[in-house]
Assembly symmetry: none
Homo-oligomer: 462 residues x 2
């Protein structure tokens, strides 16, 4: 029996304990966006550090101006095996609207679903569940071999869901201890429940808030309507022009510099037979939006977007109030693809708004996130080893896919530490990430944990 097989057998025998630990972490409401939960974030960091110490790691909790970061090390057996950095995050999105949850978001439950058991809780998959998979894989290696088969560093942050505002500083300050040979991140999806995937493209993100102000107080629409500027009218006019009839985004210079995926990648994507109609049917929709001349996977993985994520102003209560408000607000974000410069997108947004701004309106634009789109070379030896490990677990080769979301740490790891990331996630499209009733299939967790046991073994082999 190989060490990998021993570790797998040990993990199989300890599934109940793995589930209990996972549930313990899920019970901590570590909502990074809400300052009232700062104590819970600190609690989650302590918990993660303690679990790492349980399995032989030296773990430290580093304070930041926001929530703390856990960094832990295990020297492994020594020798020529590569140094692997595992990254995860213990923070979660807010759980509201609470009334749409079928069970309490921070009281995890194991329920039946079409794929067998599933765990429902905020953070079930994103990213507590995915983080626990590799923590449990490290635990299994520790049990059977006294530690991982290679040198391992662990980095678990608590501000991923708010744009990781302090992570770059940590990476810079602690570059010496963090500079590994490759990073492993589980925060993405499988192709489907039977088919693993390695994500080699990620979209970037620019996220901004627009505050428009007009009169110095709320006005009566009867007495002032027809003379006084209404900032909601103005804001809808501006935002309504951002995308044209063909789904093209109108910010100046928006598409400049985009690196189109090579023809062989597009061909590979086409061969995946992605069923966009089924994808949309699952969320109650039927007609795709976005650029009309692009395929579905291009639109989702290789083309930028503009989405208004929130809007508010004036009277939002029951019934009517005839007010012309003093202010109107929106949050808007752009998913970016390789070749687009976040700074240029922000400048384009500013110009677009200012060009359309009524004379009496004042605008302020706050930028909360900026990260570029990323492409990871798919022919590296680390990718080959990961492909082999996943194929051994699933009996089929993983798909090399794109990912429409943004994982800013991937860009930070590359820029600050010169590290490429292996993005191997086990989520499914219907996991309700960021939504009520977030879930993670037990089968995905289970095979994900097994895959990480195999991946550690594969990476350790020369």
């Amino acid at each position: 029996m190989s060490m990998i097989e021993k570790a797998l057998a040990h993990a199989e025998a300890g599934l109940d304990g793995a589930r209990e630990r996972w549930f313990d972490l899920l019970r901590i409401p570590s909502i990074s966006a809400n300052p009232a939960h700062a104590g819970d974030c600190a609690h989650a960091a302590d918990w993660v550090a303690a679990r790492l110490r349980d399995i032989g790691f030296t773990a430290a909790i580093h304070a930041t101006p926001g929530h703390p970061v856990v960094i832990a090390h295990h020297p492994g057996p020594g020798g020529n095996a590569p140094h692997v950095l595992f990254y995860g995050h213990y923070d979660v999105q807010p759980a509201d609207p609470l009334e749409l949850w079928d069970s309490a978001p921070f009281d995890p439950v194991l329920i039946d679903g079409p794929h067998g058991k599933r765990v429902v809780a905020r953070g079930a998959v994103d990213d507590k569940g995915q983080t626990m998979m590799w923590l449990e894989a490290l635990r299994a290696w520790h049990a059977v071999a006294g530690g991982p088969p290679c040198r391992v560093t662990v980095l678990v942050e608590g501000e991923e869901e708010v744009g990781s505002p302090n992570l770059d500083d940590v990476l810079e300050a602690r570059a010496a201890e963090l500079r590994a040979d490759v990073a492993v991140i589980s925060d993405t999806n499988m192709w489907d429940i039977n088919t693993p995937a390695i994500s080699t493209r990620l979209r970037g993100l620019v996220y901004a808030q627009i505050d428009l102000r007009a009169a110095n107080k709320d006005l009566h629409s009867g007495l002032f309507g027809g003379s006084a500027l209404n900032p909601i009218n103005a804001l809808t006019r501006i935002l309504g022009e951002i995308t044209d009839d063909q789904g093209r985004i109108q910010l100046p210079g928006f598409y400049e510099g985009i690196a189109e995926p090579p023809p062989e990648v597009l061909k590979q994507w086409q061969a995946l037979g992605f069923d966009e109609a089924a994808f949309l049917r699952g969320i109650g929709l039927s007609v795709p939006v976005g650029e009309k001349d692009r395929s579905a996977l291009e639109r989702l993985w290789a083309r930028p977007t503009a989405d208004i994520n929130g809007i508010w102003g004036g009277y939002m209560g029951e019934g009517s109030k005839t007010v012309i408000p003093a202010e109107a607000h929106a949050k808007i974000s752009f998913r970016l693809v390789p070749g687009q410069e976040p700074a240029q997108i922000i400048a384009g947004l500013r110009d677009f708004i200012v060009d359309r701004l009524p004379e009496d309106a004042r605008v302020s634009i706050q930028v909360f996130s900026t990260s570029p789109g990323i492409e990871i070379a798919s022919d590296s030896p680390f990718v080959r080893k990961a492909e082999a490990a996943l194929a051994a677990e699933y009996g089929r080769a993983p798909v090399l896919q794109g990912c429409g979301g943004s994982i800013p740490v991937v860009e930070s790891l590359r820029r600050i530490l010169g590290l490429d990331s292996l993005l191997i996630g086990f989520g499914l499209e219907d996991d309700q990430v960021h939504s009520p009733n977030e879930k993670f299939e037990w089968r995905c967790f289970h095979q994900g944990m097994r895959s990480h046991i195999r991946l550690l073994g594969a990476l350790a082999q020369g």
Copy 2:
């Protein structure tokens, strides 16, 4: 000494008592919107009925599903004098935000201002102060002549600030006793503190809420952006097109049937020398909106508007959340002018939205208010008599003005009772109606009371 002069002299001698009665009514927190104040509304109705009985009226309090209505009658001296209906309301707006008041809202104070003394309290002007002016005028006539010089009916309701939901039923049920020759309403403004005004045009109102729904849940903008419909994007596209670059409203048929004010009215308005720059400066603005080819007073009094009064959807908290929400909402209202049909405006709004609705979006439109714009013939004998009474008091002819707001009772009186209204108000633009520190100038109250004494005398003369 004429009877009018005697009544004026009596009123002058009794100013302290008038102020005390006015303050008594202001001390009753008759907030119609708040069910906790239902007892205060009933108290205010009792108080008004008692004051009418003091001066020889038969007064009854009529219960409604909401707050009660006071109806009172005085037969006058008999003869050919017209039957005059005075309308007012004893209810007031909520006083919050309380912290912005310099004195307690229901503890009226007389303080110094640039025009001499002023009364500060919730309801000081709207409409307790304006109602007390004509109640005191009736009191003076009662003292010197045993009653008003003509038959008078009084209607004081308690739900004006919540849209008068029960008033039409009262008007219909009691049409026989309410059907007078002319109605007198003091709930509008003067042109300025030296210049009285009769409002002969009122704008109407259509107020609607638009609810747009897309996916069956909130979505992650990274995983779904580029394929899934964003209802905020869709709503801003639709609403952003409602008004064009020239300030013209784009609903189909929106301007059909509008009765333009006659050239002599426009000429008269032009002669008023309205200073729109100063008007806008007072609210921190400088550039008028609305139709570019119309004068300021046309835009405020005789042209319709489209204002988005509220908008909301998606994430409205601190920081960022990368959500594509399932829903987006807006409240929108249109001020209407004579000739526009509210039903046609609503149909036009519906068509406008449906024409632009993405295939996957569902819309519902709730209508909260509909009232047409009103024009009151300015060449009626009642208007002539009112002009003469106001000219006698102020030494200058009153302005025949428009009013950009809506006073739905005017339309109800016309539709149900066939009655035209004389809208003679003594408020000023800076009275802080519906806002903290609502005030009414003592001089406006004083001359308003005197004007009503003169008006009663003038209307009574054949």
